[in-house]
């Protein structure tokens, strides 16, 4: 296998299964718990996150590559704007979320309502920022290109979606269970998420 193909595998399988954003990096727990009560909303959220994360990866890696990491010389000192990374990334993500929100409200008011506060909260979803930052820090020959970063963003989002959909179907089942009062709701969800994370640990070492 060439280096690129093997890195491609690392990026895809790694992001979806092995280093799953939710179940192994524990990023994006807020929407993971918040919008996983129903499979339908979870699917909607997954779509939104895939959209935002892929685009955010693309846009920010472009900005990062062609603007922020470009060295320039001012008064004999070589400098770059890397220190602006976090700021710019957040601006990009926030605008993308805003876009999704505006479009969704028009296209599917029902989904918009059921996602509620968690839609604007994608902005602060650490999974998205984490993904973008990981892209900016990547050293691999593939991931450090803008298309590699986009693939990584997409796969991470798919991993997030996978975890979210699995978890929401489990929670729909938990809805029917007679969970002891003290453990109802978030408590039992966290227990379930923990066991789910244990199951995902089986993938470790695959890539």
């Amino acid at each position: 296998m060439s280096e690129l193909t093997s890195e491609f595998l690392v990026i895809t399988i790694g992001a979806i299964l092995v280093n799953n954003f939710v179940l192994s990096k524990f990023l994006g727990i807020c929407p993971f718990l918040g919008v996983s009560k129903k499979l339908d909303t979870a699917l909607g959220m997954s779509g939104a996150v895939i959209f935002v994360m892929t685009l955010a990866s693309l846009v920010s890696s472009l900005i990062n590559q062609f603007l922020l990491t470009r060295d320039f010389v001012i008064g004999g000192r070589t400098m770059n704007l890397q220190f602006l990374q976090t700021l710019v990334f957040i601006v990009v993500i926030a605008s993308l979320v805003q876009l999704v929100e505006i479009i969704l409200q028009k296209v599917s008011a029902k989904l918009y309502e059921s996602l509620g506060i968690f839609l604007p909260l994608i902005t602060t979803n650490c999974a998205v920022l984490g993904c973008v930052v990981l892209n900016a820090k990547a050293t691999g020959p593939l991931q450090s290109t803008w298309y590699g970063a986009t693939i990584y963003g997409f796969c991470s989002a798919v991993g997030f979606a996978l975890a979210l959909v699995l978890f929401s179907s489990l929670r729909e089942k938990l809805d029917l269970a007679q969970v002891p009062k003290a453990f109802e709701g978030t408590a039992i969800s966290l227990v379930t998420a923990g066991i789910l994370a244990m199951a995902f640990l089986g993938f470790s070492g695959l890539v």
Partner: protein, 337 residues
């Protein structure tokens, strides 16, 4: 005569003691504990072989697991003022299964921790029997494997191995899966004279148990067949490509917890899909994931992880495989029912 009032010699039912309920008014006589204890019986051959090869140590592990499972179950019931449930046999099954998934020399406190994970964390927190989305014994095994990897991946040699190889060699001997391909003695694996968890070594005993389950229709045949079949196919292909790195499918099937998992854990009714179609998907998923983890993953054994992962997928599979009713007609679009 008919004109007279009923003669006192004719006794009629007392209406006040008649129960009203919905039909049907007969039942097949099947109940949960009967099912559960049949499963226990089906596990006994494998346990017996484990005890034969590993000796008293195996007895202690099985006992410690079963007793602590029952104690945790009853303790929880008492604590929550729920009716006693150990008699339905599910806690006993969990205990024995957990024991079978442990090394014969496992310390007692590990058994107790496992029982806690299984009964309290994986079962009672979700509302008890029937509501747990994950197989309790598997949660315990995987939990212990992650938490105590050293303890969970060293195995006692069998008595027979000690006598043939000598104590030192026997202790350092590898499990079949960890050996170099082509050096595995298939016959020893069939009878169970290899290293491994105490209940998973003997293929023959497990097959007998599986046959019992199938005969009493306690499991769906689709699950073990799809599970074992897909492992055979995938490992077979890899073996054909490169026999020096990859074991033959026979070794894969007979080694590790595959048979135990395929017959006793993947088939757990509560955590596997209900329809036949779902069962096939479930078995295939288990098989594929087990093969992938065994061939390329960092853990030597993928059965527990794969079943646990498929447990998580079960609600989705159930949703996808809702069967069409007899005489089903697709609802016309646009027509409001």
């Amino acid at each position: 005569m008919s004109e007279q009032e009923s003669t006192p010699s004719i006794r009629l039912p007392d209406p006040a003691r008649l129960v009203v309920s919905n039909s049907p008014h007969m039942r097949s006589g099947e109940n949960i504990s009967r099912i559960m204890f049949t499963v226990v019986a089906a596990m006994l051959p494998a346990c017996a072989v484990g005890i034969w090869f590993f000796g008293l140590a195996a007895v202690w592990v099985l006992l410690a697991c079963t007793v602590s499972c029952v104690v945790f179950e009853e303790g929880w019931n008492k604590l929550n003022k729920r009716p006693s449930t150990w008699k339905d046999g599910s806690a006993i099954i969990t205990g024995i299964l957990l024991g079978m998934n442990l090394n014969a020399g496992t310390p007692w406190w590990v058994c107790v921790i496992g029982a806690f994970l299984a009964i309290i964390l994986a079962k009672q927190l979700f509302g008890g029997l029937g509501y747990n989305p994950f197989n309790p014994a598997l949660v315990a095994r995987v939990g212990l494997l992650i938490g105590l990897p050293e303890l969970m991946t060293t195995w006692n040699p069998t008595h027979a191995m000690v006598s043939t190889l000598g104590a030192a060699d026997a202790v350092s001997a590898a499990t079949p899966l960890a050996m170099a391909p082509g050096k595995v003695e298939v016959l020893q694996m069939l009878i169970g004279n290899t290293k491994g968890c105490l209940g998973e070594t003997s293929a023959i005993a497990l097959l007998i148990g599986g046959a019992v389950l199938l005969i009493f229709k306690l499991i769906k045949w689709q699950v073990p067949v799809a599970f074992i079949g897909s492992v055979a196919v995938i490992t077979g292909i890899m073996h054909a490509i490169d026999p020096t790195t990859y074991h033959s499918p026979v070794v894969h099937i007979l080694s590790g917890g595959l048979l135990l998992g395929a017959f006793f854990m993947a088939t757990d009714m509560v955590t596997s899909p209900m329809t036949r179609k779902g069962a096939i998907i479930f078995g295939l998923g288990c098989g594929i994931m087990t093969s992938v983890i065994r061939l390329w993953g960092s853990y030597p054994e993928g059965v527990s992880f794969s079943i646990l992962f498929m447990n998580a997928l079960t609600p989705l599979i159930d949703r996808m495989t809702v069967q069409k009713p007899f005489g089903y007609v697709a609802p016309e679009k646009g027509k409001v029912a």
